[in-house]
Subunit: 294 residues, 2 copies
């Protein structure tokens, strides 16, 4: 599979769906409409929705049914970026090559735009799913769990809490597997859950997502050191200057590259229960994500 | 019905439930556990959960089934208070008589505690409901709608957006019915929805909640002018000093008192389709809320 072109094609389809479900221009006040859409349409890779759709597609053909869930994943991811960029968090001025939400709309409106995207993600799943209600509820629970206390928000909290404290490998892995890893794992698992995949394949996809998430975040840390602003669409070297907990900071660059490869390999190893064709698709995806330069 | 004592009894029951479902002390880092619980257990009236439980109780006896939804309402209300109090929003140092969340834990952690409470509210409904999955999904959609773009968050956005602009009665009513009103309306309607109340009674309860929400917020505006810090548990006169859009600011105190009474009367008028006994309960609740001094 040509992962890049599949991703681009899927991103266009998802963007059309997002545009159709988000509040139209009649939303009051007009600036709210703008603030919500600004960060969502600033041009992300749509990685999490793509993982969901790709995994679902291994088991079933009617992929368009997953769009409300794919959109919800992207909304929750976008909310987390808007809040993460705020002055009280990472204080970032640039994201995906554009000024961050609060630089354009101010802090209060940016926070509310993030809050609303998180809230709307759940409304969308609850109102637009055409899966069995019980399956829809399991998907909502999965996503809320991955984004919450013991998932993404927990990782961010631990990240902030660790500032100025001694960093250890278990703590760094705790932060990374939650801050980034949980939403990537949930994206993969949601595909298998919605497709009602057999238990062992569901488990395989879950493990794949878990290791892929860790590999992805280590790659992110590495790119923060080696990438340019143009490649990254955000300010590089940010982690170093803010003394952030990263793999390169703790292990150096060479070991970090090794650990990223190791995590990727564990992701591939997890796929054994899948058929050959299915395995090949997810191997391609992992290879592209772990070699990416942006 | 003795509304005050019923509210206190219910609040204790809800608090036990909240305590049992929230992450225990093993949540990492420990401070996350504290930041989440701090604002939730600082002693609110539990008004929204009480409305849900009271309306449900008009139609069915097994009230304890509503606890996951009651808890979700309170979590979403608490998240909104935490975010509202942040420096970039209302910049409040005092809430329910105690320092606000960010005064204790800092801005970043307070924001994440709010984000997590919002997220967990949906996880709780999706995992702990023992209503039919389709009914549970309708309740989730109702709550997400009331908290989101066109509900609470929309009202807050409009409120911020209106600062420094000319205030009109329609705009002020727009802000108030959404910022506070929508969650109160949703609390009432959710009781009727979970109880599978007949359409006309459901509609009646919805209208009751709508007008009650407006009356409640006008009362809040009035108390901000007349109350003491001890009565309110927060700094009074805050709206005046920050030039907030309020009923007293736009209409003066006498007209505001009249409009609050008028909204309360509309809430009572909406109850006609209900039986005499049911009507009496909700009349008592409205009277207490609209005469409150804190």
């Amino acid at each position: 599979m040509n992962v890049q072109s599949e991703m681009s094609r899927f991103a266009r389809r998802l963007d059309r769906f997002l545009d159709s479900v988000l509040p139209a221009e009649d939303l009051f006040p007009r600036e709210f409409h703008k603030a919500i859409r600004y960060s969502l349409f600033v041009g992300g890779k749509r990685l999490r929705p793509f993982l969901l759709e790709t995994v679902y597609g291994l088991f079933r053909d009617d992929r368009e049914r997953t769009l409300p869930f794919a959109a919800a994943l992207e909304m929750i991811h976008t909310y987390s970026l808007i809040h993460d960029d705020l002055p009280c968090m990472d204080n970032d001025a640039l994201r995906r090559g554009k000024p961050t939400n609060h630089m354009v709309f101010g802090e209060a409106k940016a926070m509310l735009a993030g809050d609303s995207l998180l809230t709307f993600a759940f409304e969308l799943m609850a109102t637009r799913s055409d899966f069995e209600p019980a399956v829809t509820l399991r998907a909502i629970a999965l996503l809320a769990g991955a984004a919450g206390f013991r998932g993404m928000a927990g990782g961010q909290f631990a990240d902030i809490d660790s500032e100025g404290k001694e960093m250890t490998q278990p703590l760094l892995e705790y932060i990374h597997t939650r801050k980034t890893g949980e939403m990537i794992r949930a994206s993969c698992l949601m595909g298998a859950l919605l497709a009602s995949a057999p238990d062992d394949e569901r488990e395989a996809v879950n493990d794949y997502g878990k290791w892929l998430g860790l590999a992805f975040q280590i790659r992110d840390d590495i790119l923060d050191r080696t990438g340019t602003a143009q490649q990254l669409g955000k300010s590089p070297g940010k982690d170093v200057s803010s003394d952030k907990a990263t793999y390169p900071a703790l292990f150096g660059m060479e070991t970090s590259l090794h650990l990223a490869r190791e995590a990727t390999q564990k992701a591939l190893d997890a796929l054994k229960p899948l058929g050959e064709k299915e395995r090949a698709v997810l191997e391609d995806v992992a290879e592209v994500l772990c070699r990416r330069e942006s």
